[in-house]
Assembly symmetry: C2
Homo-oligomer: 151 residues x 2
């Protein structure tokens, strides 16, 4: 199929103005929904966590640089494909993060641990279902080194 | 911002031709990457799980019907907002599922437990990082009833 067209359902508001690679865990973010989606959060306050799917509008994927790279260009990381790492510069520039819900009302969702900067467009919000999302997963050892201090 | 334009990075191939609401767990699916993304899976074979982000191209969100509804239109489910349920008819029609990796090579990824029908366009593949994705989450009791027999 050809182009797939999407629109933001809301925007991230927080105090993070620059991209960063560490210490996202304490940050509170509020997602402010566009008018046509007001009331679409009804019931979310009964969940502890949500998945936020967002559009990394400051990122730019370039095949030569990003199809394979060392995560964060660190010499101590292996050369891996774009689909084997979570870097932001990727085809379609989609971010997905599971966040803790702090509060939800008709038009706004406040969460903790969202690794997106102020102004980021949000594409979707889903309740976190352990049956979908929680896995006893194994990762290679470099991931533990890479993600130290991230949250 | 205005329209956000994406393209499929690959397509799902499996034996599931019709939408269904149960028993996805045993299904094997292969994701065949478009040529320009070949080698982008390098290193994924060292992970046990991946997140597949896909475009539900058969779904259609209609505000009147879907902004709030009872999941699967079941009388025993509460009326909840679109962002408080995982139904496929949603703004931007994005699906996200954590799947078990069976095998990966340069151009194809074979997984177990992907709830997408044959031909579904894939928008992104990410390695499953427990630090991002695995949460000790609480859900309301209706979710457990809804998801019985899903996988």
């Amino acid at each position: 199929m050809g182009d797939i067209i999407m629109r933001a359902v809301g925007y991230v508001r927080n105090r993070v103005c620059d991209k960063k690679d560490a210490a996202w865990g304490g940050d509170l973010s509020t997602i402010i929904l566009e008018n046509e989606y007001h009331t679409g959060l009804k019931g979310l306050e009964n969940f502890s966590h949500a998945l936020v799917i967002f559009y990394l509008d400051q990122a730019k994927y370039e095949r030569e640089t990003h199809l394979q790279r060392r995560p964060r260009d660190r010499d101590d990381m292996p050369m891996v494909g774009i689909f084997s790492q979570r870097t932001k510069d990727r085809p379609n520039n989609i971010g997905v993060t599971a966040v803790q819900i702090v509060s939800a009302d008709d038009a706004t969702l406040t969460v903790k641990g969202l690794d997106a900067i102020d102004g980021t467009p949000v594409l979707d919000i889903k309740p976190y279902y352990p049956v979908f999302d929680k896995k006893d997963a194994h990762v290679p050892e470099w991931v533990d080194r890479l993600m130290e201090h991230y949250f």
